[in-house]
């Protein structure tokens, strides 16, 4: 019934478009569009530009670590304050302006309407507003690099009193702009998240039951809900910090009845769920890629879903493991140790489910599949090292060392880089209508993976040997200035340069294939989900005839069928 109404509506729509067809101008098409696909591209390209900035910063401060006090080619000499600013900006950019916009906003915007079978988000103008606020937030952050005093240098976690008082951080404007940028970014993602959740709940194609929704959509929706539920206290906390900075209020000032630890609670109550906010979409992307290239049904769809929900709930009860040495009650530390170790159960379960999906499949080692497999392997190292940090006993020793840094890069790099490349290389034909070059793709993959492990395995050793994260130059610490540690630091820096070098192959491949790649056709991977039933790239309005869904998204290699895939919209 609903489907007939849709058909009729859409026929009218197509007729109107036929009569009043005109090419929209540049601004209307690229900057002021309400089309979810264009907004996804805006988020993707903004994220890519920010990733290059963040990568450049990483290069600069890693060079300082490897060759302290020497001239850094392409940067110059680095002062201690500059070093702090670069490290802070790198962390802030990579999490808030790369991982979030690409994983949640770019993939969310592109995939949700296409995969659930509708023509756009339920609130297209709200969607446009969300990107515009996000763009302003990026501009504010970049502007903070150029103000008097330089960018904020108090770490991306922005603990007071360092972040609250200009006489401590010496960046009066930079600290405020940083905070304003982060707050605007939160507003953008709250608007976007409400849109995602409402769209996925209400605008599904007729026939699409809860269990027919592709896992990646579930993951993006769960991540949006987690973001909404966790960011609120930090929005309040950010307002309080802003007032402390600008008005001189007493929220985080113990001398006047405030408490600096309050910020740590508010920050990590958001900050830890945030890890899962970006992890879940990454796991979703990997699920889509793996089922297609193993030509096999996802092992235990419902288990994946329940596990993700369990992760989402448990993720709210682990935040204080970031604060074991902040003077919290040891009894509380025990509770948080238990919850932290518990949360590795659902995540481990998810890894096993993916391995079970691969088992017995006919695996094709295409570029997206290589990225997806690398995600599992590398994320595993990140997860296992997390146990050492989640247990309060060992964390007291390892806290704030390079071990922590290597650990969270082994979680965030697979999430924000490896899974994102799996997604980009997988959906590129759908986004731009052309195939990427497989050879360049594989060169890019291997250089990135080798560089990544070369950069961060040495840092585990440095951290275990006692390297503190926030030191600008080790030469004045005799115990840490030993040659073997310095060699490891140089190795890590070389790894960073290798990663950055590898991205040149990606950029060449990306931009060359836009025009020069072989034409993809609607379904180059022979996949089941609805986005592969429309032309590549999909036209405005996506579906010529609104689809009806007859089955789940992972019906690959079904016995008795001639084809090894079975599109969701194909009647029995």
């Amino acid at each position: 019934m609903a489907s007939t109404a849709d058909h009729a509506d859409h026929a009218d729509h197509a007729g109107d478009a036929g009569h009043a067809h005109h090419e929209p101008g540049f601004v209307k098409k690229y900057l002021w569009s309400t089309d979810h696909k264009m907004i996804a591209m805006q988020y993707l390209f903004t994220g890519m530009v920010m990733a290059l900035i963040g990568g450049y910063f990483a290069y600069a401060f890693r060079m300082q670590m490897a060759f302290p006090g020497q001239h850094v080619p392409g940067f110059g000499f680095m002062a201690p304050g500059e070093y702090n600013g670069l490290v802070t900006s790198h962390g802030t950019i990579m999490i808030f302006w790369v991982a979030m916009p690409v994983l949640l906003a770019a993939f969310g915007n592109f995939l949700i309407p296409l995969m659930i079978g509708c023509d756009d988000m339920v609130f297209p103008r709200l969607n446009r507003l969300s990107y515009q606020i996000f763009l302003i937030s990026a501009v504010v952050l970049v502007a903070s690099f150029f103000v008097h005093g330089g960018p904020f240098g108090g770490a991306w976690t922005a603990y007071p009193p360092l972040s609250a008082k200009a006489e401590y951080n010496l960046t009066p404007l930079g600290a405020t702009l940083w905070l304003v940028a982060v707050a605007l970014e939160f507003v953008a993602f709250l608007l976007g998240g409400i849109n995602f959740v409402t769209t996925a709940m209400n605008a599904r194609a007729p026939g699409m039951r809860m269990w027919d929704i592709p896992i990646v959509i579930w993951m993006i929706v769960l991540a949006s809900i987690m973001f909404m539920a966790s960011v609120g206290p930090l929005v309040a906390g950010a307002a309080m910090l802003l007032f402390d900075q600008t008005l001189g209020t007493a929220f985080y000032d113990p001398a006047r009845g405030g408490d600096p630890i309050l910020w740590q609670h508010l920050f990590w109550f958001f900050g830890h769920p945030e890890v899962y906010v970006v992890l879940l979409p990454a796991l979703g992307i990997v699920a889509e890629v793996m089922t297609v290239f193993a030509r096999k049904k996802l092992f235990a769809y419902k288990t994946v879903l329940y596990t993700a929900i369990a992760t989402g709930i448990l993720g709210f009860f682990v935040w204080a493991h970031h604060q074991f040495i902040a003077g919290i009650d040891p009894r509380m530390a025990n509770v948080f140790t238990v919850t932290t170790v518990l949360i590795s159960v659902p995540i481990g379960e998810m890894c096993f489910v993916y391995i079970a999906t691969l088992y017995g499949g006919s695996i094709r080692l295409t570029t997206p599949m290589l990225w997806a497999l690398a995600f599992l392997a590398e994320f595993l190292i990140g997860g296992v090292t997390g146990i050492f940090l989640g247990a309060s006993g060992s964390d007291i020793y390892l806290h704030d060392t390079y071990f922590v840094l290597a650990h969270f890069h082994y979680t965030f790099f697979p999430i924000a880089i490896i899974a994102v490349f799996a997604g980009i290389t997988y959906w590129y034909p759908k986004m731009f209508g052309r195939m990427l070059n497989e050879t360049l793709g594989k060169i890019h993959f291997w250089i990135t993976i080798v560089g990544f492990n070369m950069a961060f395995i040495p840092l585990f050793i440095c951290g275990a040997a006692g390297d503190h994260r926030r030191i600008y130059d080790y030469s004045s610490f005799p115990d840490l200035a030993k040659p073997y540690l310095q060699n490891l630091r140089i190795l890590a820096t070389v790894g960073t340069i290798v990663i950055l070098f590898g991205q040149i192959f990606f950029l060449i491949n990306f931009f060359r294939s836009l025009r020069g790649g072989p034409v993809a056709g609607p379904n180059p991977w022979r996949a089941n989900t609805l986005e592969w039933t429309v032309p590549s790239p999909p036209p405005h309005g996506n579906f010529a005839v609104m689809p009806t869904v007859y089955r789940g998204p992972y019906e690959y290699s079904v016995p008795g069928r001639e084809e090894d895939f079975w599109p969701q919209n194909l009647p029995d």
Binding site: P113, V197, N202, A229, L262
Partner: protein, 189 residues
Amino acid sequence: MKPIATTRSATGIPTGRLALWWVVGSEIVIFGGLLASYIMHRIGHPEFGDYAAHTNTWAGALNTFVLLTSSLFAVLAHQAAEKGDGRKAHRFLWYTIGGAVTFLVVKGFEWTHEIHQGYTITANAFWSFYYTAAGLHGLHVIAGAIVMGVVAHKAKRNEELQRVELVGIYWHFVDIVWIFLFPLLYIAK
């Protein structure tokens, strides 16, 4: 022109109402975080009670009464909109806006008085919380009043009557936040 997506309702809940509940949900955690922070401080600092003694409980009580009454008008506006009587809904919405304005005027007198006595936002953590929490709530009152003006303008011509309910839900939320703020900031001495 609305996309097909906007007209669908797989859950059976109208899209506008569904989205509004998510908005309210995200607002609850914002105020929740602020109030939880305040409560933790209040427990740890008995002297907050002495500072709270300087707030004007009667003005707070008056404002509680004003907000609750305005919420009643929001309900009456919804009732009228349900019956398709846009003009009546428009009138009740303006009564609600009147409540919002009264609330802000009372608040203005209170704050002026307190600031004159030297209890500014920077005096100590209690007053920082007092002005920030009530100020954030006040911003929601102002935003609600503006949105209600827009909805009332349309409702008068019997357009978009479903929005009367949505703005009413939001207004009840603003009201409930105050129900928490009033005892926490004024009464707990």
